[in-house]
C-alpha cells in the first residue's frame, strides 16, 4: 500500500534519512507523474477527452468545491458507519467463534462466501430492498466489506496465545473475563488493528462503488458517474481526486490508530495482509 517501505533499512541509512526519504520519495514520484501528465496534454497534445490536464482538473475542483466537500462528507459518512459497524461485528463474532467451536464451524462457510463474492455485486439488490432514497444499502455494503478482514484477522489473533501464558492464567485461577482482558485481547490486538486497517480502504471503495448502482445522488460515486455521462471529464476527475483523498484519509487514520495503540508492540511482528478484500 505505502509506496516506499522496508528495503532502505538494509542499506544502513540513519533512521532520520530513512523517514525523510519515506515522505519525500512518494511526493517526488507524484510530482514527476503530474509533470509528465501535463506535458502529454499541453505539449504532445493528447485530446482533452482522453486525458484532461491536471490544471483543468484543479480548476474544476475549485469551481465545484462546495459540491466536492458535500459529496466527500456523504460518502465518507457511509464508509465510516460501515467500517465501525463491520469492525464491531467482526470482532464480536470472532470472539464468539474463538470461544465456541460450533459457532466457528457455522460461520466459516458464511465468511468464506462473503470473502469470495464481490460485495458490491449486492448493491443493486440492497438498493431495491431498502428503497431508492435511503443510504442504508450503501452503509450495509461498506459494513459487509469491512466485516470480512476484521473477522478473519481477529479470529487468527485470538488463536495466538501461547501455552505457557494459558498455563499461567490457569495457575492464577483467572476468570474467563480476566483471561480475555489480560491475555487474549492484548495478544490479538495487532491482528485486530491490521484487520481494521485493511477494512478502512475497503469501506471507502465499497461505499463509493455502491453509488454507481442507483439510489440517492450527491455522493462521490454518483457524481463521478453523472459527470462522466455528461462528458464533463475534468469534473469527473476532480471527484476522483476527492475519492483518493478520502481513501487516503481513512487509511492514514487507521494507520495512526495502530501506531498509537501499538506504541509498545510485542516483539512478534504484526501480521501482514492476510486477506485480499473483495471489491
Amino acid at each position: 500500500m505505502s509506496a516506499v517501505t522496508a528495503g532502505s533499512a538494509q542499506r544502513g541509512m540513519s533512521p532520520r534519512t530513512e523517514t525523510t526519504l519515506r515522505i519525500v520519495a512518494p511526493i517526488a514520484v507524484g510530482l514527476i507523474v503530474l509533470g509528465v501528465w501535463q506535458f502529454l496534454v499541453s505539449v504532445v497534445g493528447v485530446s482533452d477527452y482522453l486525458l484532461p490536464s491536471p490544471a483543468s482538473i484543479v480548476e474544476e475542483l475549485v469551481a465545484y468545491w462546495p459540491s466536492v466537500v458535500q459529496a466527500t462528507l456523504l460518502t465518507g459518512t457511509n464508509a465510516l458507519l460501515g467500517l465501525i459497524v463491520g469492525s464491531v461485528l467482526g470482532i464480536a463474532l470472532a470472539a464468539l467463534a474463538a470461544r465456541w467451536r460450533g459457532i466457528d464451524q457455522m460461520s466459516a462457510p458464511v465468511v468464506a462466501s462473503l470473502a469470495v463474492i464481490p460485495i458490491v455485486a449486492l448493491a443493486p439488490v440492497l438498493n431495491s430492498m431498502f428503497g431508492a432514497d435511503s443510504q442504508f444499502g450503501r452503509q450495509a455494503i461498506a459494513a459487509l466489506a469491512s466485516f470480512v478482514p476484521v473477522f478473519i484477522n481477529t479470529l487468527r489473533g485470538f488463536r495466538q496465545t501461547t501455552p505457557v501464558h494459558r498455563d499461567l492464567m490457569k495457575a492464577y485461577a483467572a476468570s474467563s473475563g480476566q483471561v480475555l482482558r489480560t491475555l487474549t485481547l492484548p495478544t490479538a490486538r495487532p491482528f485486530i488493528l491490521t484487520g481494521i486497517r485493511i477494512a478502512s480502504s475497503l469501506a471507502v471503495i465499497s461505499a463509493l462503488v455502491a453509488e454507481y448502482f442507483g439510489g440517492p445522488r450527491g455522493g462521490l460515486g454518483g457524481l463521478i458517474s453523472t459527470s462522466a455521462a455528461s462528458s464533463a471529464y475534468a469534473r469527473a476527475w476532480a471527484y476522483v481526486v476527492a475519492s483518493i483523498a478520502l481513501g487516503l484519509l481513512f487509511y492514514l487514520a487507521t494507520l495512526g490508530l495502530e501506531r498509537l495503540l501499538q506504541r509498545r508492540a510485542p516483539s512478534t511482528t504484526a501480521p501482514h495482509r492476510t486477506t485480499k478484500g473483495p471489491t
Binding site: 498455563d167 495457575a171 492464577y172 485461577a173 483467572a174 492484548p186 516483539s267
Partner: protein
C-alpha cells in the same frame, strides 16, 4: 503460617501417581507410581536426566494437568481446590512474561488478578523488584531484558503473593553463576522467612544440595523416584543458617557426592553422563 502449624501439616502428598501421555505415535509413560510427601516449610528438589518427568510432576501438583492414576493432595485439598484457593506460586521453565506489560506490570499481574488495591500493589512490586535486583528495570519491557533477567522477573512474580507452596521449574537455568548463587541464597532466605514449602526442579547437583532438605533423584522412561537423599548439612542445618560459607564446607561436598552416586544408580561415575551438570 506459624511454625507449629507448619510442622504438622503436609504441603504436598503424592500417592502412586502415574502419568501416561497419549500421542500420535503411541503412549508415553512419563511417570510411574510416584510416592512423595513434602512437609509444610520443607525444601525438596527434583533432579534427574532430561525427560524423566520433573516438569510433568510439577504440572500435576499445580493442577495444570491430571494424573492418569493415583492421588495428589495439596494442603489436604485436591490440586484443583488448592489452585482455585491460590495455595501455590509457580515459576515455569520458560519465563512466560507478557510482552506488552512492563517488568513492574508483569510482577503485578497476580496481585491485579486477585484484586489487591493499587497502592499496596505498587509497594509490593517495588519490594519484589528490589529483591531480585531489577529496581532499575521496572519500566522496561521483557524483550529489552536478557534471559536471566526475565527469569528473575518470573521469580518475583511467583513470590508476589507469599504462597505457602512454591513450585519452581529450573528457575535459575538461564542465570550466570554469580547471579545464580546470589538468587539461591535469596531463595533460602525467603523460604526460611515465609516458611514456604518449595518444590524445586534443577539440573545442578550443588544447587540442589545447597537449597534442599531432601533431594529426590529420578530416573527416566518411565519416570520413577530412584532415591530420596536427605541433606545433613552440619549440626545446625537450619535453612536460615545456610550461607555462602556452606559451599566450601566438607559436608557440602559429601552431599554432592551422595546425590551424584544416587543419580548414577550407585555405579562408578562416568563423567558428563545423562545430561546432568556437575557444577
Amino acid at each position: 503460617m506459624t511454625q507449629e502449624q507448619g510442622v504438622q501439616m503436609t504441603a504436598v502428598e503424592i500417592n502412586g501417581v502415574d502419568k501416561v501421555f497419549e500421542t500420535r505415535t503411541g503412549q508415553v509413560q512419563a511417570l510411574d507410581s510416584i510416592d512423595l510427601t513434602v512437609a509444610a516449610g520443607e525444601f525438596v528438589s527434583l533432579i534427574g536426566p532430561s525427560g524423566c518427568g520433573k516438569s510433568t510432576l510439577m504440572r500435576l501438583v499445580a493442577d495444570l494437568d491430571e494424573p492418569t492414576g493415583g492421588t495428589i493432595s495439596v494442603f489436604g485439598k485436591t490440586p484443583r481446590t488448592a489452585r482455585l484457593d491460590q495455595e501455590y506460586g509457580i515459576a515455569f521453565q520458560q519465563a512466560g512474561l507478557l510482552p506488552w506489560r512492563t517488568v513492574a506490570g508483569n510482577v503485578a499481574l497476580p496481585l491485579e488478578l486477585h484484586g489487591v488495591a493499587s497502592a499496596a500493589r505498587s509497594a509490593r512490586v517495588t519490594e519484589l523488584l528490589d529483591m531480585v535486583g531489577l529496581s532499575d528495570f521496572a519500566d522496561r519491557y521483557p524483550d529489552q531484558l536478557s534471559g536471566g533477567m526475565q527469569q528473575r522477573v518470573a521469580i518475583a512474580r511467583a513470590l508476589a503473593e507469599q504462597p505457602r507452596l512454591l513450585l519452581m521449574d529450573e528457575p535459575f537455568g538461564a542465570l550466570d553463576e554469580m547471579t545464580r548463587e546470589k538468587m539461591q541464597t535469596e531463595l533460602v532466605r525467603i523460604s526460611a522467612e515465609t516458611g514456604a514449602a518449595v518444590v524445586f526442579v534443577t539440573h545442578s547437583i550443588p544447587e540442589a544440595v545447597f537449597l534442599s532438605d531432601r533431594v529426590v533423584v529420578m530416573s527416566p522412561r518411565p519416570g520413577r523416584i530412584q532415591q530420596i537423599v536427605p541433606m545433613r548439612l552440619g549440626v545446625d542445618a537450619q535453612r536460615a543458617a545456610r550461607t555462602e560459607e556452606l559451599r566450601e564446607e566438607r559436608g557440602f561436598f559429601e552431599m554432592v557426592t551422595a546425590v551424584r552416586e544416587a543419580l548414577h544408580g550407585g555405579s562408578p561415575i562416568a563423567t558428563g553422563a545423562r545430561g546432568v551438570e556437575n557444577r
